[in-house]
């Protein structure tokens, strides 16, 4: 399957690791991701509080360009981008007159590329859990993982249109297909406050602390995200008492598919993510030293 790929700004920086694992896992699943040419920032998380029109035009341009690529839709690994792309898509779908407005504003004729999807959505929905399970070379046996969805991938449901906003299952099911053991916990969709991470770190520390406390109490050995904002925020704003590694779902999928941590960019995570994998016997002898 060939899809237009919208990597998002963080793929060039704080989520360079996610970019690696996302592309590696897509490759393993025969998903051909073609970058949207000259993609621009979607505006998250600042445009929507500054100017309603700007908040629609920025992601809208990417949708228009993606539609011109003639692929089977557009996909993004970032939950914040996902949310903004979907907001714009929703806004455009509501009124066709907005197509003209947008085309004029961004200088690209707008056509509907279909509902923007998240990489998780494509892996679980389009590729399917059976196909995922077929790729598993080393099942993540005994790995207790807390699937953390965050907010933007699911809320509000009429925009996100993916999974249940209160009790989502897709990532849990995926982890199960990879052989891991998803834990039942209560903070799956609580917001981590990433948009305030720079400006009000002390508030964000509380949110992150609550989420990690709850994951630990539920017996999780790691937290798994599908969002670069969440991953970076959970790693960066946690206190000393929290040691849980925070993975991208693509990290764990890649490990299960037999890819090496280096190919997946896992060593770029803060903290000691490889220790856990090593402890679970999920790293081959040759991979040991790479941490």
């Amino acid at each position: 399957m060939k899809l237009a790929y919208y990597p998002g700004c963080s793929s060039h920086g704080s989520a360079a690791d996610y970019d690696r694992s996302a592309r590696a896992v897509a490759g393993a699943l025969a998903l051909e991701l073609v970058d949207v040419p000259e993609w621009n920032c979607c505006g998250a998380s600042s445009a929507h509080g500054a100017d309603h029109r700007l908040a629609m035009y920025l992601p809208g341009r990417n949708l228009a360009v993606a539609a011109g690529m003639g692929m089977g839709g557009v996909v993004t690994p970032c939950a914040a981008c996902y949310s903004r792309l979907n907001r714009a898509h929703h806004w455009l779908a509501e009124d066709r007159r907005r197509w003209l407005e947008l085309s004029a504003a961004v200088g690209v004729p707008y056509n509907d590329v279909g509902k923007p999807r998240s990489l998780l959505e494509v892996v679980v929905g389009d590729v399917g859990l059976e196909a995922v399970a077929a790729q598993v070379r080393r099942p993540l046996k005994g790995l207790k993982a807390a699937a953390y969805y965050g907010c933007l991938m699911l809320k509000p449901p009429e925009v996100a249109r993916f999974d249940d906003p209160e009790n989502p299952r897709s990532m849990d099911d995926l982890l199960q297909a990879l052989g891991a053991q998803p834990v039942r916990w209560g903070f799956k969709t609580e917001c981590c406050g990433a948009s305030l991470s720079v400006s009000r770190p002390e508030l964000v520390e509380k949110l992150v602390g609550d989420i990690l406390d709850n994951a630990s109490a539920a017996g999780a050995e790691c937290v798994v995200t599908a969002c670069p904002m969440c991953q970076a925020n959970l790693e960066q704003r946690r206190s000393e008492r929290h040691r849980l590694p925070v993975f991208y779902f693509t990290d764990l999928a890649g490990i299960a598919f037999g890819l090496s941590p280096r190919e997946l960019g896992i060593p770029m995570h803060l903290g000691e993510p490889l220790e856990l994998l090593r402890g679970k016997g999920l790293l081959a002898a040759g991979e040991e030293g790479q941490g």
């Binding site: 700004c9 704080s14 690791d17 500054a50 920025l58 809320k155 400006s199 508030l203």
Partner: protein, 187 residues
Amino acid sequence: MAVVDLTEAAKGREELLTRVRELAETDPLACYQCGKCSAGCPLSFAMDYQPRQIIRLVQLGMREQALGSSTIWLCAGCATCTTRCPRQVKIDGVMDALRQLAGQDGRAPREREVAAFHTSFLESVRRGGRVHELGMVGSYKLRTRRIFQDGGLGWNLLRHRRLPLKASPLRDRKTVERIFRAAEVRG
């Protein structure tokens, strides 16, 4: 506590409601003040007004208090409120709308740092078409004079190759400048 003169507040009520309805595409009058939004809000503990109270201020036309609140800046945009609202009020949209109105009024934001972050962010987007994290944070630090905040963290990210020094902007920088201009014209 001061007495609120509702007749005085009512003078600006229609205008405020109209602007919020336009920008947020929702009607704040549908709210019956049940508080489900505030109760689910992850940041309500830090806000001066609860999200529910912000909607109340809009209902009554109390523009000063609504636009001057910390709440509209501390809203992280997670939309949990909107997801759970029994009256289908898009509360996160109202917060966005009020932030825009505060900007249009040229009012000093109650949360200076948060506003400065957004300004630096959009500046970075306008300059290169994409956010350059290091540049954006640098501009934020200058703006807020918090030069040393998160120094260790920055170093740590740099060490893990997650904070590149170089930006990777669009080839044609006018692409995004054009969008900003178009939005300004419509606004």
